[in-house]
């Protein structure tokens, strides 16, 4: 006969193990579901302006933005970004790159943003810029992993000011990001980083 105390301990130990196992399985499921959770379907609607915000080392969205411009989805492009080093704004270089690939120089603007802690802090500046130019609709080209959240967050800021917004991303970027993403440092970093941003923004009001 097993000692009742021992039996009690064993029962609790097995309960704790099962709970831990379930928690680990839940975390693993959530981790592998990140692309499905974070990436929204790309929606392209005819707009007054393309807001090109997918400016990072691993993005190849130039071609996509030029294609949208040539198809007449929008007549103006604004490259949006903050500095990545001392007085170094990728938006300036993206603008030059678009111009060198045939986009009319007068149709592309570089919008330099100050460093902000989160999207919620920099979106009002973008909305302000769009409104100041009299544009009523915008197509936001962002990173694939940021698409669902941008669609949710940015839409609120834009629609509050009477500007219609659709959110899209480069299909090439999406393909590259989701290919073996859990094995690659920068891809995992971006997916997990985005998930963290979404979770944190729910708790801290300054970013909502």
């Amino acid at each position: 006969m097993m000692n009742p105390k021992k039996r009690w301990g064993k029962r609790w130990a097995s309960r704790a193990l099962i709970s831990l196992g379930l928690l680990a399985a839940g975390c693993a499921a959530l981790f592998f579901a990140l692309p499905a959770l974070l990436i929204a379907p790309a929606i392209v609607e005819k707009s007054d302006v393309i807001l090109y915000g997918a400016l990072s080392k691993h993005s190849a969205a130039d071609k996509y933005v030029i294609d949208l411009y040539r198809r007449g989805v929008a007549r103006k492009i604004v490259c949006v970004g903050s500095q990545v080093s001392w007085e170094l704004y990728p938006s300036d270089y993206a603008r030059e790159s678009l111009v060198s690939q045939g986009v009319h120089a007068e149709d592309v603007i570089s919008l330099r943003l100050p460093l902000a802690p989160c999207g919620g802090a920099e979106l009002p500046r973008i909305v302000e810029f769009v409104k100041a130019h009299g544009w009523k609709s915008a197509l936001y080209v962002t990173h694939p992993e940021d698409s669902r959240y941008t669609d949710n967050l940015a839409r609120r800021f834009f629609e509050r000011e009477g500007v219609a917004l659709s959110v899209s991303y480069s299909p090439e970027d999406r393909e590259e990001l989701t290919r073996n993403w859990w094995r690659t440092h920068w891809k995992t970093q971006r997916m997990v980083g985005e998930a963290m941003i979404i979770a944190l923004d729910r708790f801290y009001s300054e970013c909502r």
Binding site: Q83, P90, Y93
Partner: protein, 219 residues
């Protein structure tokens, strides 16, 4: 009547005494004490955990000062230039990576360090440093090539312990001293970090990176 009341009181006291001696009461007391302890100890532990991310050594004169990449505000480069002006080393290394549009963040960092008074010939650059481990390997190669044996590692405070640990592992036999950028806004602040969104993001990410570094996960 009075006797009835007295009897009832006795019954209540007896029941209470019995309950106090019962196992459930003991368990409840332990749970209460634990919750009280957790309430008061959690902030202390969280602060300690965050402070544990910082490594600040007593620096000695070295061959080179290394400003690690990843600081958009360039406070790391600013601190490296400051240490150079104080004479802690003759050379400065900046780090960065190239973008598809043809610019290099390390180049911008180099220009910034030059604007702070460090001569061009004293500045070296390590390229394509996507993460701390890649940066540590590139630094080891450069130190071997230049014959340097000691370096002062300048990075953000939250990154300082992991960066120095990574560099020491990548380049055994050389001496490294950590001299991080001071904490405080707009940089990271470890005290009560959980109350500020920015600091929560940085701290949690750093703990995750530590776990990844220790298990030798994503490179």
């Amino acid at each position: 009547m009075e006797q009835d009341e007295e009897m009832r009181m006795k019954d209540v006291i007896q029941a209470l005494n019995h309950y106090i001696r019962s196992r459930r009461a003991r368990v409840l007391l332990i749970v209460f004490v634990c919750m009280l302890g957790a309430y008061f100890l959690t902030p202390v532990l969280l602060n300690k955990a965050a402070e544990g991310l910082i490594r600040e050594d007593r620096i000695v004169k070295s061959d080179v000062i290394v400003a690690l990449a990843g600081d958009y505000r360039c406070n790391r480069e600013k601190r490296a230039a400051e240490l150079w002006r104080q004479g802690w080393a003759d050379n400065v290394v900046v780090s960065g990576m190239s973008y598809a549009w043809g610019f290099h963040t390390g180049e911008a960092a180099r220009l910034y360090v030059m604007s702070l008074g460090v001569p061009e010939e004293k500045i070296y650059m390590i390229c394509e440093t996507l993460n701390t481990r890649a940066e540590a390997r590139a630094l080891d190669d450069l130190m071997r090539e230049r014959g340097w044996n000691s370096a002062i590692i300048v990075t953000s405070a939250f990154h300082s312990r992991r960066a120095t640990y990574t560099v020491e592992r990548a380049a055994p036999g050389r001496s490294f001293y950590s001299s991080p950028v001071p904490t405080g806004s707009p940089e990271w602040t470890p005290r009560a970090w959980w109350s500020r969104r920015d600091d929560v993001y940085v701290t949690v990410r750093e703990f995750t990176s530590w776990a990844n570094t220790l298990v030798g996960g994503w490179q």
